[in-house]
């Protein structure tokens, strides 16, 4: 962890008006939770819809996409990354520091609002709020690592990440059984199930598998991003 890299990254990520845009989505989740609380629909079903589909299924990947790519892709795109890379700093240190900022942002902007929305909707009953908070927390970590890697390997990280989040995670991962095993959202759901009361949450991927896959995805993406950053080249054009 390098505090200067962290400071520069955090200022770049939250600076100017970007923080307002980043805050808009979690605020919307909380507003929806407050409105839904007074509806006549079954509260548990409502909690699954809002915390599972909306928060874990949409808010977390979108936030992960913005923070994961935002901590590095912009600097690579505009060339300012050269000021970090022309220093005797191990590349893994740059990557892990940037990842820490992205993960922290993801927790703040996705996991915490999910927990609060859970409390608003269902209180502390059945461990639903805590379960989904943990699910979004670990999913946010994995998404951040994966999208940071995308930010290093492609100049079209946001489009690639969006395609992944919408097509794989939201569509295929939800409806195609085999693909669920390789869905970050489903891994998060497995951890939610582990925390929640028995029978309150169903998850298609086993806990052990989910934990291992989460570790492999996060660590693998971080290691690969470090290797790719070490070999980052500047454009050869003049």
């Amino acid at each position: 962890m390098n505090t200067t890299v962290a400071r520069l990254t955090a200022r770049g990520l939250f600076g100017r008006r970007r923080i307002l845009i980043l805050l808009a989505v979690p605020v919307m989740l909380l507003v929806i939770a407050v409105i839904a609380r007074n509806s006549a629909i079954d509260k548990l079903e409502l909690a699954h819809s809002i915390l599972g589909s909306l928060a874990l299924g949409t808010l977390v990947p979108i936030t992960g996409l913005i923070t994961g790519t935002g901590v590095i892709a912009t600097e690579i795109e505009d060339g300012s990354i050269v000021y970090l890379l022309s220093k005797p700093l191990p590349r893994w240190k740059i990557v892990t520091t940037k990842l820490a900022v992205a993960v922290g942002a993801s927790w703040l902007l996705a996991a915490l609002p999910t927990y609060l929305a859970g409390l608003i909707l269902y209180g502390t009953a059945d461990g639903i709020a805590a379960g989904y908070a943990l699910g979004t927390l670990v999913a946010g970590t994995a998404y951040s690592a994966l999208f940071l890697l995308l930010g290093v390997v492609t100049r079209h990280a946001v489009i690639a990440g969006l395609a992944y989040a919408l097509i794989w995670e939201s569509l295929i991962g939800n409806y195609v059984e085999g693909a669920r095993t390789l869905s970050v959202q489903q891994w998060g759901l497995s951890l939610t199930k582990a925390i929640a009361a028995d029978g309150a949450v169903t998850a298609p991927v086993g806990l052990t598998t989910a934990v291992w896959l989460l570790i492999v995805a996060a660590v693998g993406a971080t290691a690969l991003a470090s290797v790719k950053l070490s070999g980052l080249t500047l454009n050869g054009e003049e």
Partner: protein, 304 residues
């Protein structure tokens, strides 16, 4: 003594060869890397600064490979051509961050010293996004100098600078060169390079076209065959007088435009033309070089 060695280096991007079998050594003092746009100067600087791997050959700093070797940045200061530099930071914050990233013992003092060197203390509290091109260039210089490097690499540092800023930067670079640092800068303007660098490396179309003292390069560029377009009060008589002298290799008469003259001896011809015209009572209306574009000069160097 820091020496960058480029040994039989080529770099290609797909089918395009950007740098073709270049060998050169950059030692202490100021070296100008001269060449037209697209010649491969930036590609060479990217390889010298560890931001591009050579496709073949080796680029080393004092014998140590530069590519994928982060330790070389203790000795190298890089001033990139691109302007992006964390626009939300003030000049002070930017240079300080660079000092911290180098892990210096007293980053504040180092940042202060570097900003003083480039005379940017007066604007150090302003965000770099509000700086003019010249100010950005100087703060970029400060960030590259903050760790007191032995090698300074600058990619087209004078681009977009006004004459005053240009002179300031030249003074600064002269001081670094005099200190015994290895300073390399790229430019596509010969006059700019020869004002600053005694030693010049010329690259054209990815090839190493010439190398040496700036006077030698200037002589090579001057002593090539020159072509002129001349229009006078009596083109035929002038043509006859000129072709009689050895400094003129050929004269083509064009009724519409005048004379197209090929001179082989630049000095001889420039002395001969006014003399011949005066003696014959011919008035010269136009004397213009027909092939003075930088590309034509470089092309000559490559083919010679």
């Amino acid at each position: 003594m820091a020496v960058i060695t480029i040994d039989k280096v080529s770099r290609w991007f797909g089918n395009v060869v950007a740098v073709n079998d270049v060998t050169m050594t950059i030692g202490p003092g100021i070296t100008g890397l001269l060449g037209p746009n697209g010649a491969g100067k930036s590609t060479l600087i990217h390889m010298m600064s560890g931001f591009l791997a050579p496709s073949s050959g080796a680029v080393t700093l004092d014998g140590a490979p530069i590519w994928r070797n982060q330790q070389v940045y203790r000795q190298i200061g890089l001033v990139p051509e691109k302007e992006s530099m964390y626009d939300y930071l003030t000049g002070w914050e930017f240079v300080l961050a660079n000092a911290e990233l180098h892990g210096l013992a007293d980053p504040g003092a180092a940042a202060e010293r570097a900003l003083a060197l480039v005379e940017m203390e007066y604007a150090q509290e302003r965000q770099t996004g509000t700086y003019s091109k010249g100010m950005k260039q100087r703060v970029k210089m400060a960030s590259a100098l903050v760790h007191d490097p032995a090698v300074l690499l600058l990619d087209e540092p004078f681009n977009g600078m006004d004459p005053r800023q240009r002179l300031q930067l030249m003074d600064l670079l002269r001081r670094f060169g005099a200190d015994g640092r290895t300073v390399l800068f790229s430019s596509h303007i010969l006059e700019e390079v020869e004002q600053l660098a005694r030693h010049i490396e010329v690259v054209v179309a990815g090839r190493h076209a010439a190398s040496g003292d700036f006077r030698e390069i200037r002589r090579l560029m001057t002593d090539r065959p020159h072509r002129y377009l001349v229009h006078s009060s009596d083109d035929r008589q002038l043509a006859a007088a000129l072709i009689a002298d050895g400094s003129t290799a050929g004269v083509e008469f064009d009724a519409g435009e005048g004379l197209r003259i090929q001179a082989v001896d630049f000095q001889g011809f420039t002395t001969l033309l006014p003399k011949v015209a005066r003696e014959a009572g011919i008035r010269l209306y136009t004397v213009s070089p027909a092939d003075e574009s930088l590309e034509s000069v470089f092309s000559y160097l490559v083919s010679s």
